[in-house]
Amino acid sequence: MEFSDLIRTGRAQAKLLRGPEAPPLRGTLCLTGHHLLLSPGPQATSELWLLLLRSVDSIEKRVASDSGTITLRCKDLRVLQLEIEGVEASLDIARSIEALSSLESVITSFPFFYRPKGLRLGDAWHFHPPERYYKRVARETNAWRLSEVNEDFSVCPSYPRAVIVPRSVDDGALARSARFRQGGRFPVLSYHHAPSGTVLVRSSQPLTGPQKRRCAEDEELLRAVLAGARPGARGFIVDTRSSQAAKQARMTGGGTEAKAAYPGWKRLHRPLERGQPLQESFVRLVEACGDLQQSTDSWLRRPEGCCWLAHVKEALSAACLAAQGMEREGACILVHGAEGTDSTLLVTSLAQLILDPLSRTMAGFQELVEREWIQAGHPFQLRCAHSAFSHARPKHEAPTFLLFLDCVWQLGRQFPLSLEFGEGLLLALFEHAYASPFGTFLCNSEKERCLCEVRTRTHSLWSGLNQPKEQRKLRNPLYAPNPLAIWPSVELQSLRLWQGLFLRWIRPPEPSEVAWEKVWQIVTDKEKTKLSQPTVSASEPQL
């Protein structure tokens, strides 16, 4: 199928309204396979305006006698309005946008055609392979090895080719343990906490079923985890479901680890919201943010607003529990929910951010996202198919990754000096997870990415972000390395709505952003004076 089949009217005269602050834009509207362009004409001074069609979440059309209005609601929560001359043209364009923005095929998506200047294909893909993280673990402990049992993705389709497992367990046992875990996600290392010698392990639920099946290899694997830490170490299984839900899962073949079968391990339940309810609370929060004009001043106290904050609180406190278990109790932690691809990753990645100073750097955080979300098999394509505006009934959509970013933002607010990256990076990750010219967030797992040859045929987001010109937007000017764990406060008084994201396009540009510029200026001044100072003093001895 060609894109041109879907484009009936390629161009029209239009006026673009971009919210209350920005001035309207007039010019020629042009529709291509991946983009909507607005060219203001040769004599105009303003630049070409460009929108990736993939980022359109929902579209609404209204026609008058000789023109039409299209309202585009984007996945990054922006709302745009196009006034197009000609009824026929506007209907055609609306229909084309609708069709083009919801194309299912991965290999015809824009990342496969995007060739920006200054970047080379395949450049940043070697930044964060699992081998790299294993090198770090190997320096700290000898109890773990890199296994390639999943080389051809046959053992677990959602794991990467190489995973880190206890040294004493061989590949055969891993394969049998995988058969006992949903989706083949057997327990693998997520993070090794060197100061206490404990580890964070993640998996999916065991398939105990109503008959309470057991699996010797799986038990052996978890015993090896404890033995690898230190003799007599304890372990905690953090189940992200309620104990009720975990029991119910038995009926459908899932379940939890039986106490008797796993000596030394103790189960804790920290129920986290997932799936559809999470998506709904996201949708309702965005709705509440949208109708500020008519609402009273109590809008945040409406259930929509506080539901989302409740999820933030739960996620943070579950991560604190896991982190505290490792740092303070010296215990190993296994995290799993049902599939082990959503709330599990939320907890493990946040726990690492709390404990690990390296993951709070720019490169470390990118590695964390790559390792704990992308390679660990969070199904981005399913979860981020639609954002909050879509009218389509949500099936697999859930803003788990957004919830993670929100939690990171809360950490950054409470420890403004400890994260090397700023709000800008989090916003960029949110945007790119939902619609991106880069290939990083494409597909649902490494296996699919291999099939589509994402690594060789698209650019990596990391190479895009790490260009020098992007740095000022993404970095935290006040960063000072902090070797300690950062324990956030999860009290309600300490959590705030992430205005920079949810109200980004609604509120007028803030004086606080100007203030942020000033902070940058102070910091760069400092660096400048610091630089110039040695030159003054260094030049003197030479003379």
Partner: protein
């Protein structure tokens, strides 16, 4: 402020506190208002608080005036009062219309009519526009804050309970109402150049809030540390806000206690949040002032009005808070303050609901665990100082190099220049190093804060969970038994 001028003069009518006991001795009134008019007007106003000048906008030639409610009842009139208001509006050469803002809700004002008080009848006064703005009275505010503190003091509330508790306390709604009134006032002056007369019931609570916030929006002087002190002295202390009763300094009537001034400080805090660069002072300054209105350590806030303070001889017997704060000025400076920015001449705050936040640093001042563990403020302040110091050093060095260059006027060898600079450099370098070192410990102190004890974070519940005795071998059987049954 540019007074006295051709339209406004200092009146000595209240020199002996004869006309109004709760006003200061010195008052500004329109030049054309004679003493009989003032006296007559004061008899028509509750507690004798007749209309006087609070702030004069020099550029727009418009004035903020304040008074108490008129004793109009259902139909009473007072010619002198009408004359005085006319005099105020005539004192404004640009706009003859003047606004009269009644800061009470309309219902309360109407109820007051039954008690022989009330509000101005637009028909009796020429050239006035009357406006209610609906700020609730001190009793509503008191119970609202009580509710707010109750919600915040309760531990382990669910998210929705917490927020519905915040909402039902109505505190932020009241803050917004005060802010809206001040914005209305500022707009009347900047947009229409109209004078505004503000009153509530007695003209010492809501009127003080609105007048002082309005001046704060209009005039950048009041956003400096000194200016803010002046503002508090003017609109609160000298115009008779009853600090002793409102703060409950003495064992008085509990119904007179109300957080009116706290509310004003919170409004200012909201402004500093919205305009981080417009204020010379920071949050710590506001918190410190708040502490001392209750501490009774300084004389400023004792007593209920100037007359009382003079009788108590507070000036001779007590210290003033302001020199104490000025001594420590560095602690209260806002590192981001940009004094000369034209953007910040008149502040136009946005009162969309999401801009009103719970002031955690005020209401949880002493609960350290709830606050961010690292302070951006301190670090920026430090950096700013470091920058200034280093820039000064550079300038010093440059000027020294210049001096050295100028010395050998023959313009011969650079070698000599070198020798002359060289002996100095070690001392300079050490001084630089020394400065760096002295600055470092501050950063260290900052960092160590967050090696915080997790017990602080109220995770102690987890600790319990962890420490529950582990089932040994025996209970393993128990586990099996339970599994099978």
């Amino acid at each position: 402020m540019g007074v006295p001028n051709s339209n406004w003069q200092l009146s000595d009518a209240n020199r002996e506190y004869k006309i109004c006991e709760t006003y200061p001795r010195e008052l500004y009134v329109p030049r054309i208002a004679s003493k009989p008019i003032i006296v007559g007007s004061s008899k028509f106003r509750s507690k004798g608080r007749f209309p006087v000048l609070s702030y004069y906008h020099e550029h727009k030639e418009a004035a903020i005036c304040r008074c108490s409610q008129p004793l109009s009842g259902f139909s009473a009139r007072c010619l002198e009062d009408e004359h005085l208001l006319q005099a105020i509006s005539k004192a404004n050469p640009v706009n003859r219309y003047m606004y009269v803002m009644d800061t009470r809700p309309k219902l309360n004002a109407i109820a007051n009519r039954a008690a022989g008080k009330g509000y101005e009848n637009e028909d009796n006064y020429s050239n006035i526009r009357f406006q209610f703005v609906g700020i609730e009275n001190i009793h509503v505010m008191r119970s609202s804050l009580q509710k707010l503190l109750e919600v915040n003091g309760t531990k382990g509330l669910s998210v929705s309970d917490f927020y519905s508790g915040l909402e039902s306390s109505g505190w932020l709604r009241h803050i917004k109402a005060v802010m809206d009134a001040a914005i209305f006032l500022a707009k009347a002056i900047t947009v229409e150049s109209a004078s505004v007369l503000v009153h509530c019931s007695d003209g010492w609570d809501r009127t003080s809030q609105v007048c002082s916030l309005g001046s704060l929006l209009l005039d950048s002087y009041y956003r400096t540390i000194k200016g803010f002190m002046v503002l508090i002295e003017k609109d609160w202390i000298s115009f008779g806000h009853k600090f002793s009763e409102r703060c409950g300094h003495l064992d008085g009537d509990p119904k007179e206690v109300s957080p009116v001034f706290t509310q004003f400080l919170e409004c200012v805090w909201h402004l500093t949040e919205q305009f981080p660069q417009a204020f010379e002072f920071n949050e710590a300054f506001l918190l410190q002032i708040h502490e001392h209105i209750h501490s009774c350590q300084f004389g400023n806030f004792l007593g209920n009005c100037q007359k009382e303070r003079e009788e108590l001889k507070l000036k001779e017997k007590t210290y003033s808070l302001w020199p104490f704060l000025l001594d420590d000025q560095k602690k209260y400076l806002n590192p981001l303050y940009t004094s000369k920015s034209p953007k910040f001449t008149v502040l136009e705050p946005n009162t969309v609901s999401f801009n009103f936040k719970f002031w955690r640093n005020m209401y949880h001042q002493f609960d350290r665990t709830l606050h961010p563990r690292q302070s951006v403020f301190n670090i920026i302040t430090n950096m700013n100082e470091q920058n200034k110091q280093l820039e000064k050093d550079i300038k010093d060095l440059e000027s020294k190099i210049k001096q050295c260059k100028n010395k050998p006027t023959d313009g011969i060898l650079t070698k000599e220049l070198i020798h002359s600079v060289h002996p100095e450099s070690p001392t300079l370098k050490t001084s630089l190093c020394f400065k760096e070192q002295t600055l470092l410990p501050v950063n260290h102190a900052l960092r160590t804060i967050e090696g915080s004890n997790p017990a602080d974070n109220r995770y102690s519940e987890y600790a319990e969970e962890f420490s529950k005795s582990e089932p040994g071998v025996v209970s393993l059987e128990y586990g099996v038994a339970r599994m099978t049954c």
